[in-house]
Symmetry: C2
Subunit: 508 residues, 2 copies
């Protein structure tokens, strides 16, 4: 694979100088055009040690307008990063729409290094690559333009380059022990890289192999590639239609994915939904409720401390119709928890920073650090519920959200986080009663709005969406728990109980 | 001081139950009113160990609507926090306008503990308290409502409470070694607390001493206090006039403060400003420029690595008229730096999340972590420049900004960060030339807007504001460097050179 980038291509100083001004001018123009769209650009700079990744990043910083550009580089994991799933550090640094993010390193560095070091097997590498690929295709579907550059250098050239750098006191880059180790492992790195590129070079987020022996050739080629890609995406299409929709081919893949998901619901019984199976007669009397509440809150309290000691985090999601009692249930949980151990995130309209990112970004922000709870009062499932019903999201968007969500939750679970999801349900009649009750009570009146009444009219549409959601996102690692909510007391105890059981299972 | 809160006040269960429903209803109403204003509420919960700080936080969480509330608690410093000034951890967690933040602990915990442990002297405590007080009065001036609660317990009651907790397996709170240590140091803690309360109990951000022997009395009293304060702020004034302006008395203090600032400018020569003293004839020829550029960039490169090794961070600020060459100067710096060592922040219009906070918040966000640079292309000085000239900020706002900024920069410097500030200046004629030139060049055309032309018309107003700014914010720990910018080359070398010198001084 790498033979084609060991051809000794180069530019003379004159050739370089002749090309640069126009290239820079055009890049700036494209960057300006980009800033008017809803798309972001993600440039990944990676490759052989000594190939000049830092120089390339610097060149891009020089050529482009810094006001629309950021460089994202990674040091060792900070403890805030270590306490969350690996991709949190990437999510929090993704560029906003209209901007360019140059990733110095990124999500390929660790998989390749681990394989080259002999710390992981090929199957591990392949797994990591599959995750990377899905991450990228999710961003691309959201409008991101991704370019991945692999800077190549032959073994001899690498050795020469590093030796020269080591001698030069003004070298921008410091040569470290690790560099020499990597020279020794040149073959292993190349093997890992070859597999990486082969498995993750998709039409959506392609790899560009760049011959890096000659710095001028390398920089101009990267600049030119970036320009061509931006032009293709930003000029050929009218600006308004810029957002990429999944191609029919991609859609096909998504549907195939969904078929693989566990589904404990028979979708053929079209009229009935899973919600019709909920037994609304379940209830508990006041005295038993008091007793049970005390028991389960005490138990949850002990479990929360035990989880805190083991640094296990929990993500608890509450969804359900308006007035289903989500807030009350959440309060019964937080009553049992030390205030330092939890955070409640109430999902309202996104801020403009949130809107400038993929819809999952705003939830990634609040992922709990080690040993604590984040309770989401409504969540990312809005994408396949309200956004679907109200048509805020296109069909392509909400359909692919199922696997995006499953991937997201899988990352949490793989990191050792408990993911508990509750659908608190009430009957349509019970909702009416509660709406009316709220209108009666002065301080509850602001809890009921015209929107609540409008949502109520779409009851059946919601039921249908909930059914699909539960079928597609009830995974073995993060199943839904359906809660019968007509009796608030019953619902609260049920939630406390199942949450305790889930924590106990985690702690075992 | 604490005798008054050892009176044994308490509520029976019946009294508690009789008061609670109305209190909760009214609190919710006030919270709803708050959400419609531009004010935030900051509640600090602190006090004697075992007095039930956690219980109070839980009660507030239960009584208030979680959608407008957050609890902010602190564990050990994370490494991301340790690498920045102490107050970074508080700034990043401040509640947005319209919301309530309950701080479980906060900026009083360390000063009090250190003094009680005998790790600091009274002068250190007083210094820390002065910083806290200035921090609070800054937030209050920005519209925040601050309530500080000290939960008191006598020594005997503390001992009893902790013993009981230790025995109770369901206790929400865990009793630790540290608690017993604090029992031994009861007297020292009380002494520190007394001084703290005495020195920081201001009309703007008062302390409330709460007798905490009886939990019901404690919780109801805190809830009632919160309600009274919210009512005072939100009901008695018409909602539109809610933002507090500094009282004449506060203004007086501010002016006195300003007089203490070093001022190397004779403000009485009213017509001339410091900018008139800039010698625009300074220049450098192309050949010397190339040579000097190489020398100083190499030196900066070495210094940046040395600073990185010593974990010293740098904050470099660029201000100056439109087209002064700030961007070009920044690029000459970043060319010399490894891309992993710096970040350029171009200050444009704030996002809505930024607007929902004090204006310094958006700059605190980007404070560099240990060993790296943040280069600000325009900065917090916008408050006393464009916001003053365009009247986006009231006179009270931009006047107090001088000391807010000085405090901010002092925190950076005290943390060991280099703060370098450049005013890059050009003559009015030179600006005209550059504007015209930009309009000629296709890819530079978007750099010049109608706004630039409008700003130009206010040249003299800006000059006057710059003069004040430099007089008031040229501190000995973070002085301004004025750069003659008509010759771009000269300006770039001058900036590189002085930045190198400043770094060398830091590294010595």
């Amino acid at each position: 694979m790498f033979r084609t980038v060991e051809l000794g291509r180069k530019f003379t100083k004159e050739q370089y100088k002749a090309q640069l001004p126009e290239l820079r001018a055009e890049l700036l123009q494209m960057q300006f055009a980009l800033s008017k769209t809803k798309r972001s650009v993600i440039i990944l700079i990676t490759g052989v040690d000594g190939a000049g990744r830092g120089d390339v990043v610097n060149a891009l910083n020089e050529w482009l307008d810094p006001r629309g550009l950021e460089t994202i580089s990674f040091e060792r994991l900070t403890d805030e990063e270590r306490e969350r799933p690996e991709f949190w550090r990437y999510w929090r640094r993704l560029p906003e729409r209209g901007r360019i993010g140059v990733f110095f390193g990124g999500w390929y560095v660790d998989p390749i290094r681990e394989f080259a070091y002999g710390e992981s097997r090929q199957a591990d590498l392949d797994d990591a690559l599959a995750i990377n690929q899905r991450f990228e295709s999710m961003l691309v579907a959201d409008g991101a333009i991704i370019l991945k550059f692999w800077l190549h250098l032959s073994k001899e050239d690498q050795l020469k380059r590093l030796k020269k750098m080591e001698k030069d006191p003004n070298s921008m880059r410091r040569v470290s022990e690790r560099d020499w180790k990597h020279v020794d492992l040149y073959g292993e790195f190349l093997q890992a890289a070859e597999r990486t590129i082969r498995l993750t070079d998709t039409g959506d987020s392609p790899w560009y192999l760049i011959e890096s022996k000659d710095k001028r050739y390398r920089d101009i080629t990267i600049g030119q590639t970036l320009l061509d890609v931006l032009r293709k995406h930003l000029v050929q299409l009218p600006v308004e239609k810029n957002i990429a929709l999944p191609s029919p081919e991609t859609e096909q893949k998504l549907i195939a994915k969904e078929d693989l998901l566990p589904s404990d619901v028979d979708l053929s019984r079209a009229r009935l939904t899973i919600l019709d199976q909920i037994d609304f007669n379940l209830h508990i009397n006041e005295r038993d409720y008091r007793k049970q509440l005390e028991i389960w809150q005490a138990r949850l309290n002990r479990l929360a401390w035990a989880a805190n000691e083991k640094r296990i985090s929990s993500v608890v999601v509450f969804e359900g119709p308006d007035a289903a009692g989500k807030g009350g249930a959440i309060r019964r949980i937080t009553q049992a928890l030390d205030a330092r151990l939890y955070r409640v995130i109430s999902t309202a309209a996104p801020t403009d920073e949130e809107r400038a990112h993929h819809y999952l970004w705003r939830f990634w922000r609040h992922i709990p650090h080690a040993g604590t709870f984040t309770l989401y009062d409504r969540s990312w499932y809005g994408r396949v519920l309200v956004e679907r019903v109200e048509k805020f999201a296109s069909e392509g968007e909400w359909r692919r959200a199922y696997w995006e969500i499953n991937d997201f939750e899988e990352m949490l679970v793989n990191h050792g986080t408990l993911v508990a999801k509750y659908w608190v349900h009430i009957s349509k009649e019970e909702q009416l009663n509660r709406f009316k009750e709220r209108e009666q009570i002065a301080y509850k009146r602001h809890k009921i709005t015209d929107e609540d009444w409008r949502n109520r009219e779409k009851w059946d549409d919601y039921a249908h969406s909930v059914n699909d959601m539960i079928a597609r996102t009830s995974t073995n690692y993060a199943p839904w728990t359906l809660i019968s909510g007509n009796d608030k007391r019953y619902a609260r105890i049920e939630i406390l109980k199942t949450l305790c059981h889930a924590l106990e299972k985690m702690l075992d």
